[in-house]
């Protein structure tokens, strides 16, 4: 069983001694070159007049009618140069700040925006509501392996302002950094900024230590979302970090080859980064490449597959070669398959492991997701956490030193064996045997039988939900957040914005 005790939130990255690189220098430079040629000759669609004007002002080749921006390589590189390799995504307290690119390892996200959940009490699958987000935020707050969070589900009980209710549920139930994946219009973005200012205390403090960030998906192939990009422009203006994610579906919305799909992904994400750097040089950015494939027999969408995984991990080198941090682990820390399914287990393990070994700055970690991020099941988060516990151990590598070479021990024991009785062995097991695990539970004292990890996980989640009380946010800030969201609920312009400008 994992140690269940009352404690304050903390965060813990994983640093890997083991390193993998998928692409060699020449391959990286070929993809970078191809990306720049695509940006120069084909361009990216930005369906926002505001964005197009900004690009035109700095000398990009803008076709206002086709809403397309073509970018020369030197212009792109000029703006990428101001995008920082290191910056802070802040929590409520400095010891919860994620210092992106600080070399301390990979920081993990709890991903989200699941449209459906498995009801924790009844086991029934249903649409997610705001309370599910609040509950999952408390679980994420409790687990040190999670450093940053998205609202884990969507508040279907709140309609168009669901993204803002999601932020409220996270801010009031956790002290960790919160990122929005669903604020997709300018008006909602302004409310979200107001919320972040309320949490930070002032606009100045927000700029110094942004407690909020945004993840924006580009639209494959080679386009941006109008509302999303206009929201990103607001966030960038306030110094709020903006991550750009590309989700090329190999052979559907991108070429079937990883190198071509990476080209599409880099062109989309780098063009978005350039825009935010024009608006606010130095604002934090990151890239995420989340490829998928389609089951060619049924059309079902798959996040787990060797080819998509390789493409995802190659993204780490591509981002770093452009001086930009990366959020890795495709499949958002979830899997296509259900909990308890063998394939879900192995897919999750390799996608988590490869991101860490490739040296990703951030990665999707324990999230509680399955069915391709469309179903949230709270206990599942502990299975994801379990994999990262193992990965933490594996990526420490093997220590080779006089003590571990153990010549003296070997000499002492000679040919008789029986190392189990050696004092050093006792110490070794004490530090190595996983105490913080749901897998090796020794059961109740009377039983000492293996227990199904699902039962152990359920018990742990029940305990966390009943007992973990995140450090309380001041009542006045809570009230302020409530009032902001309340105002947003009554603001009809959000509905108009979401529906587009038609």
């Amino acid at each position: 069983m994992i140690k269940l005790e009352e404690r304050k939130a903390s965060i813990k990255p994983i640093k890997s001694k083991l390193k993998i690189s998928i692409l060699d220098d020449q391959e990286i430079s070929q993809i970078n070159q191809n990306t720049r040629t695509v940006l120069e000759e084909i361009g990216v669609v930005f369906p926002s007049d505001k964005a197009l004007k900004i690009f035109a002002e700095v000398g990009a080749n803008v076709d206002f009618e086709k809403q397309t921006v073509k970018i020369a390589a030197d212009l792109l590189d000029k703006y990428l140069a101001t995008s920082p390799r290191n910056y802070t995504m802040a929590g409520a307290r400095p010891d919860l700040d994620v210092h992106v690119g600080d070399g301390k390892g990979t920081y993990f996200y709890c991903s989200g925006e699941s449209p459906r959940v498995v009801d924790f009490s009844t086991g029934e699958r249903r649409l997610s509501v705001k309370e599910d987000i609040a509950n999952h935020a408390r679980i994420a707050d409790y687990l040190p392996i999670i450093s940053l969070m998205w609202p884990s589900a969507s508040a279907s009980d709140k309609g168009e302002t669901s993204p803002l209710h999601g932020l409220e549920a996270c801010f009031t139930n956790s002290e960790k950094h919160v990122e929005s994946e669903s604020v997709m219009d300018e008006v909602s973005a302004r409310y979200a900024v107001e919320m972040a200012i309320a949490v930070s205390g002032s606009e100045e403090k927000l700029r110094e230590r942004p407690v909020l960030s945004q993840l924006l998906c580009c639209i494959q192939p080679l386009a941006q979302d109008r509302g999303g990009i206009e929201a990103a422009m607001i966030f960038a203006e306030y110094g709020i970090p903006v991550g750009f994610m590309s989700m090329p579906t190999l052979g559907l919305t991108a070429p079937p080859y990883p190198a071509g799909a990476l080209t599409i992904a880099m062109a989309e994400t780098l063009s978005g980064i350039m825009l935010t750097q024009i608006i606010n040089p130095g604002v934090g950015n990151y890239i995420s490449v989340n490829p998928g494939i389609v089951d060619p027999r049924t059309g079902a969408y798959f996040m787990g597959s060797a080819v998509a995984q390789m493409t995802n991990v190659s993204g780490v080198q591509m981002a770093h070669s452009n001086g930009i941090p990366i959020l890795a682990c495709h499949s958002f820390g979830g899997s296509q398959y259900e909990l308890g399914n063998w394939q879900a287990g192995y897919e999750n393990l390799y996608s988590h492991l490869l991101g860490v070994m490739a040296g990703a700055d951030m990665s999707f970690g324990p999230s509680g997701m399955y069915e391709a991020v469309s179903l949230l099941d709270h206990p599942r988060i502990l299975f994801d956490r379990e994999m990262l516990r193992v990965i933490d151990e594996i990526t420490d590598g093997v220590d080779v030193n006089p003590k571990t070479l153990a010549f003296d021990m070997i000499k002492e024991m000679g040919h008789k064996g029986g190392y189990i009785s050696h004092r050093e062995t006792g110490k070794f097991y004490r530090t190595t045997w996983p105490k913080e695990s749901i897998l090796y539970d020794d059961g109740k004292p009377e039983g000492r039988k293996w227990r199904d990890p699902k039962d152990v996980a359920r018990e742990a989640i029940t305990w966390i939900l009943e007992n973990h009380k995140p450090e309380p946010m001041s009542e006045s800030v809570k009230q302020e957040l409530r009032q902001i969201v309340d105002r947003a609920d009554k603001d009809d312009s959000i509905k108009r914005e979401i529906s587009g400008h038609k």
């Binding site: 309609g159 027999r297 979401i498």
Partner: protein, 216 residues
């Protein structure tokens, strides 16, 4: 001679050879063959076989889509040549799209392709489409089924707007509405007054058959 032409048209669809299909369709008209028979005994037979090959796992999705596109190329030549009053036999006429504010297109396109391969005449209006655009397409295509896809909690509400707009336009009794997408459930579909809900593309075909059989 006509039998041979039907076979060739069917084969062009099965092989996904759009250039051949186009040339054959023109040839058929030049030879004075009945366009309706060319469609029914040639193209439709071909696409039916493609559907079977896909169902048995022999064909993959790219082949299915290429064949559907091939059929459309030939259809665009043959259909305008149909004599007045002649109409090709379709199971139903579907207008499908993703709702306003939503750019997710993979599921919608897949559902549309599967419906085409199963004998429906499908007009895919694309993504980010307003209720008014759906209505316009329904009128233009004399549709019997409207398919609205939504993948976001914030945009699924647009499906309801489409149903309300159909009602306002006096079309609610002429068309059946089918909805789908990640956040949509059967109970939500019932709640907004949709006639059908499908979880995936395969069941979308079954539901569409049911809706097509149902009296309008």
């Amino acid at each position: 001679m006509s039998e041979e032409m039907y076979k060739k048209l069917a084969q062009a669809v099965i092989d996904g050879e759009a250039d051949d299909a186009e040339a054959l369709a023109r040839q058929a008209l030049d030879q004075g063959l009945d366009p309706l028979a060319c469609i029914t005994n040639g193209l439709t037979k071909g696409i039916q076989q493609v559907g079977e090959l896909f169902a048995s796992g022999e064909y993959y999705l790219p082949e299915l889509i290429i064949s559907a596109d091939t059929m459309k190329v030939a259809m665009d030549i043959l259909e305008p040549a149909l004599a007045g009053g002649q109409e090709r036999e379709v199971v139903g006429r579907v207008v499908i799209g993703t709702v306003e504010g939503d750019l997710h297109e993979i599921g919608k396109t897949l559902v549309g392709t599967m419906l085409s391969a199963n004998g429906f005449q499908v007009t895919d209006i694309g993504v980010d489409k307003t209720a008014a655009e759906f209505i316009e397409a329904v009128k233009e295509n004399n549709a019997t089924i409207v398919g609205a896809s939504a993948l976001l909690t914030t945009t699924m509400l647009q499906q309801k707007k489409i149903i309300e707009a159909l009602d306002e336009a006096g079309l609610k009794n002429q068309v059946k509405v089918m909805v789908g997408g990640a956040p949509v459930t059967q109970s939500y579909a019932d709640q907004i007054g949709a006639d059908g809900y499908a979880e995936d593309a395969i069941s979308a075909v079954d539901i569409a058959y049911r809706l097509a059989d149902a009296p309008a």
